[in-house]
């Protein structure tokens, strides 16, 4: 992300040292990706199993049902619920875990597109002077959200669904409207903070709700990263970065919100 030429005086600091540290950390990150792919494969397998099993349904079902996700209930009841050989074949809908995967992918897509738009606006000089650290934050966070989207999409594809490239259908319009009002870096940081907060809350809700241990493991590796984004954004905005001893689900999106994006 190119920014307007910064006229602030250079500080006496070893940037090389910081870059070196960041490179090392990026290498470590690359090391974690193969493990994540393995996890995604396990989740796909688990989800296939879940469409046949009744075990592990949780509170997200309530929300999913409220959104008309009757198929989730059917899927969770699955074949084990009926032993009759004469019963009409049931049409299995996506399980709650699959709905969560779709929701997560769509939220991640929205985060990527929001950061991308913000970076484009900054590059075009529409946001005034952009500090290099803020630009670096936006680029790194965007790349991480893209990685998150890939992880959820690999689960969906593994379970026989198409990858989701669309943003969360309910939030997209709201975020785009807010994006249109962003006039400077502070506005952009506030918008990003809202979005990251929603993502973190949604993942926390998912951790309570997911049936598959493998899916829970993936959500557990992503939720703290979104929380870190929140902390850094709060800090940059001058707000105490870790105000709560416990993460909350305030702002979490309902599991079935992106169900319409699930296509086989």
């Amino acid at each position: 992300m190119r920014t307007k030429k910064d006229t602030t005086p250079e500080i006496a600091i070893s940037e090389h040292e910081l870059y070196s540290l960041t490179e090392e950390l990026a290498d470590k990150h690359q090391d974690t990706l193969p493990k994540m792919r393995e996890g995604a494969n396990e989740v796909s397998e688990s989800i296939r199993e879940l469409t046949k099993s009744k075990y592990g349904r949780r509170s997200f079902l309530t929300k999913a049902a409220a959104l008309g996700a009757g198929g989730a209930l059917l899927a969770a009841c699955g074949t084990a619920a009926s032993t009759s050989t004469t019963a009409a074949p049931k049409v299995a809908g996506p399980s709650v875990d699959l709905q969560v995967a779709a929701l997560a992918a769509s939220l991640e897509n929205l985060a990527v597109s929001t950061y991308k738009a913000g970076i484009s606006a900054a590059t075009a000089g529409k946001l005034g002077t952009v500090p290099p650290a803020v630009a670096n934050f936006a680029e790194t966070a965007m790349a991480q959200h893209a990685d998150h989207a890939k992880a959820w999409n690999s689960i969906l594809v593994g379970a026989g669904y198409k990858a989701i490239s669309a943003p969360d259908p309910a939030l997209n319009g709201v975020i785009n409207a807010d994006l249109g009002k962003v006039a400077n870096v502070v506005d952009l940081a506030k918008l990003a903070l809202n979005l990251e907060g929603v993502a973190a809350a949604t993942y926390l809700e998912a951790l309570y709700a997911l049936s598959s241990k493998s899916a829970r493991a993936i959500a557990a590796t992503i939720q703290p990263v979104e929380m870190q984004h929140v902390a850094i954004l709060n800090f940059v905005l001058g707000t105490y970065p870790v105000p709560n001893a416990f993460a909350t689900t305030t702002g979490a999106r309902p599991a079935g919100e992106a169900k319409s994006l699930l296509v086989k």
């Binding site: 991480q144 829970r216 909350t248």
Partner: protein, 287 residues
Amino acid sequence: MNENRNLDEPELIELMEQSKDIHSDAMRRTRGDINDLINNVAPATERPEERKEEAAEFTKKRSEILGAASNGLGILGVTGLGAAMLALFSKPAFASSNTDIQILQTAASIENLAVATYQTALTLPFIGGSSANPVVKAFAQTTMKQHQEHAQAFNAAITALGGKQQNNPDPVLLKVVESAKPSLTSPSQVVNLALELEQGAAETYVANVAALSEARAIDVTSSILGVEAQHVAILTAVSALLSAGAPQLITLPPPAAQLPAAAGSIGFPNAFYPTNKARPQTEGAVK
């Protein structure tokens, strides 16, 4: 570390007050959860519908397996019966809560050690005294309290599951802290020690979430792991600025324009939180 700081201290205090209000709101929910945990000592009452259905499914399956065996239908041999029952008992809802209790005791022990470490750190003049950076001091004070609350929450969950509370520190990590104490002569060393503990805590809880079986254990762990990760993010950024000889940039808000580009992302280097530093599940279990 206190040189050239440009923090508006009243402003920081005001922000801390606002943060406390937000935190209090969150605590009301969490305390409610903890109260639920304490009140619902009998297992499987937190999500009755789900548990009822799972129990019914379990009973049905068990009857099918045992019925098939006793009726001599030849479906299950001795080995087959054992395997089928084993598979049934290995279903998540019926996994042993003893494992969950041990995992939670280890978590409580990590929190106890964190509290003790921050307490010690705050007695040092450059962390909790007059020469301390106010942001670092406020962070240490707030974080210590948050770890106290985490320990209480883990212990409440342990009690709810019928286990013994863990009020001692993690014995292995305690040795690490004890051996580090003599070398804690500057803010950087203290921050790095705290960072090591926070990273260990966050990674342990991330790993635990997939290993736990009881809903209440999963819930409390899930609500804490991200907070430890936030501590890690802030400490990593602070550590980097200290190492780079720029303590004057540790202010709230920081002088964003003066920060090096790398400072923007150094706090969150991984897209997926690692678990390679997770502590063993039984390391802090009550013996």
